[in-house]
Amino acid sequence: MSAAREQILARVRAALAPLTRRAPPPEWDDASAVRRGTRDAADPWALFAERLRAVNGTPLTATADLVALLDAGGWRHGYCDPALWPRLRDAFPAPFTVETAFDRRRIDDYQFGITAATGAIAESGSLILSDRDTSSRLAALAPWVHVATLRRDQIFVDIPAAIAALPADPNVIWVTGPSKTADVEGILIEGVHGPGRQVALLLEP
């Protein structure tokens, strides 16, 4: 054990020793911390889609709509999780070209990346990604368009439910809309280091 460790812990103990009473943790309820209009939503997907749109994300329910969106944007070369590609392949006609391995040396070649989500949160319009389900962290981040596929049964209604069910995974990330900044004069610009377009694609089993 390092000297710094012992020194810091000794100082902490000395600092707290004079306290006759230590502040107890408060009792608080999840319901008070959930945004209005969340728990009474009838359809979690509908609420998720509404809140995702509110942060400039794009919810889609049909693969054909995804292909149309990519085509309209001129994004015709990308990456797809090899496990998802057999299901999606037929929807992507020429001139689309898709790779199922992400080569980081050609990071600028990929205009879109399609990976599987671990879940979603309706309350905030967030997609949940994890190491176990994301075939490549870079492919879900570096291309201009990121598409996360999602099933209805993966949607948590609210943040307390999503926190309670955090997977045993070394890396879980909630993605709430496209990457953005307001550093320059407070003006909102999307697509800073991550995707400028964030898509959630509902894919039923």
């Binding site: 408060p26 570096a142 697509g191």
Partner: protein, 464 residues
């Protein structure tokens, strides 16, 4: 009477900078208030709970610190401890040297500013690149952040465009979208070339050892997707007891900081990447930094350690809005900085003893604080300390109160002066020989002196 340094600084700020800071902070503050009221029936209660959770953590750090260390180690992370800024910088350098690493990409972390990490590493031949757009601009300009959430709130697009041109990022173009795209293109190849990604942590769960890092730009995610080694610099006060507590803090942090429900990226990291995952760190280090925090914990201002660095108190503060961040001569500006900076200064407290006076004690900082820190109370305690320690900086800008104290502690002298004050009613105030006072009264109507009336009224009341 010497002016307070912060006043002197504020007087020199260019008008357009002041206007930008004022507008930026005011807009964010107003959006924050509307959003909280719109989303929650009782947002105030959430603030109080969050404050109580953090106070509980602080007063039980002797339990939580060893607990989180054990969890992190069980998760496969290596834990380091640093008592001072120098030790923290040396720990990062040591980890890098052990791997033969020479390039580091850095996500925005206030504690790295506090310990001066980037200059330390650069002096030792390590490339340490800021990846947050605002922090990158601060770095290439050899400037300092002036706001903890919006580091370049004091700069305009023309200055930024000139800096980009100078750094070879393309011909002059001050369109914010072009500036952002150029940074995107430049930075992604830096991430790929980097050996180490460095982040801070907004929260660390003692229960699970999960580090939570939030950003909007995605730079922390990139720093954890391309490099093979992750170093997290974490102040020892960043703990929360359980994962569940993150519900409160995540809900409050983004709304308070930028009036967002959540930041775009909220990342929960509990160890090196999964073996099957092609991207990300194979090695994870967590450096717990004291750098004066245990001294603050031992004192009577320990509530300031609850701070989650959202910047809401900066945005609402009438002094910050006029003076802007650099006026505080510290990494942490605004009301939180006026408390924390003198405390973290340790033996140099006297040099920062004027900062607790940079406040009208209006209390707005406490009202917006997501962890309900009683900042005005803490400012008063530090003013008291400055006075007791005879810090010259604490006396600047304060009129001498000795004569007043003598007057107010002698009933006879007090009564006589109340009566004598009536002479003000017949003096021509426009002829006051002090120009500043003359200017003051020229724009205002001075009420008639009625010294002693209250005493008369009291006598009539108590002896009818």
């Amino acid at each position: 009477m010497a002016r307070q340094r912060i006043d002197a600084y504020a007087a020199r700020i260019p008008a357009d900078t002041r206007a930008a800071v004022y507008l930026g902070t005011k807009t964010t503050h107003e959006k924050r208030t509307l959003l909280l009221a719109d989303h929650f029936a009782d947002a105030d209660r959430l603030r109080r709970w969050a404050g109580e959770v953090k106070q509980h953590v602080l007063e039980n750090l002797d339990t939580y610190l060893p607990q989180v260390e054990a969890r992190l180690q069980a998760n496969g992370a290596q834990v380091h401890w640093a008592s001072t800024a120098e030790e923290a910088c040396a720990a990062v350098l040591g980890i890098m040297q052990a791997r033969g690493a020479t390039k580091l990409v850095k996500s925005k972390t206030m504690v790295s500013e506090e310990i001066g990490l980037a200059p330390y590493l650069e002096q030792r031949g390590i490339e340490a690149l800021e990846t947050d757009l605002g922090e990158y601009i601060v770095q290439i300009d050899k400037d300092h952040p002036s706001h903890i959430v919006r580091p370049i709130i004091h700069k305009n697009r023309r200055e930024i465009a000139r800096s980009f041109e100078r750094e070879g990022l393309g011909a002059y173009n001050d369109d914010p979208e072009t500036i952002t795209r150029r940074a995107r293109q430049f930075m992604r190849h830096k991430y790929l070339a980097a050996d180490v990604g460095l982040t801070g942590a907004n929260f660390v769960s003692a229960e699970s050892g999960r580090l939570v890092v939030v950003t909007n730009e995605g730079n922390s995610r990139f720093s954890l997707a391309a490099p093979r080694c992750h170093i997290a610099l974490v102040g020892i006060e960043k703990l929360v007891p359980r994962d569940r507590d993150l519900v409160l803090f995540l809900n409050l942090l983004a709304r308070s900081a930028t009036a967002q429900q959540l930041t775009v990226y909220t990342e929960f990291i509990s160890g090196p990447k999964l073996a099957a995952q092609p991207d990300g760190p194979e090695e994870m280090h967590v450096v717990f930094v004291d750098n004066g925090r245990t001294e603050v914990l031992a004192g009577d201002c320990r509530e300031i350690l609850r701070c989650i660095r959202c910047g809401a108190c900066l945005n609402v503060c009438p002094v910050y809005r006029q003076a802007s961040g650099h006026a505080y001569r510290s990494v942490y500006p605004g009301p939180l900085g006026a408390v924390l900076s003198p405390l973290l200064a340790g033996g140099n407290f006297a040099e920062k003893a004027d900062l607790p006076k940079a406040s009208s004690l209006c209390g707005a900082c406490n009202e917006v604080c997501p962890v309900n820190i009683p900042i005005p109370d803490l400012l008063l305690r530090l003013r008291d300390r400055g006075k007791r320690e005879h810090a010259a900086a604490a006396a600047a800008g304060t009129p001498p109160m000795g004569a007043w104290a003598r007057l107010a502690s002698s009933p006879a002298a007090w009564k006589a002066s109340l009566a004598a004050g009536r002479v003000l009613n017949i003096l021509p105030l426009g002829l006051i020989p002090v120009p500043a006072l003359r200017a003051w009264v020229a724009k205002r109507s001075v009420p008639a002196w009625r010294g002693g009336e209250f005493r008369k009224w009291m006598r009539r009341r108590t002896r009818p």
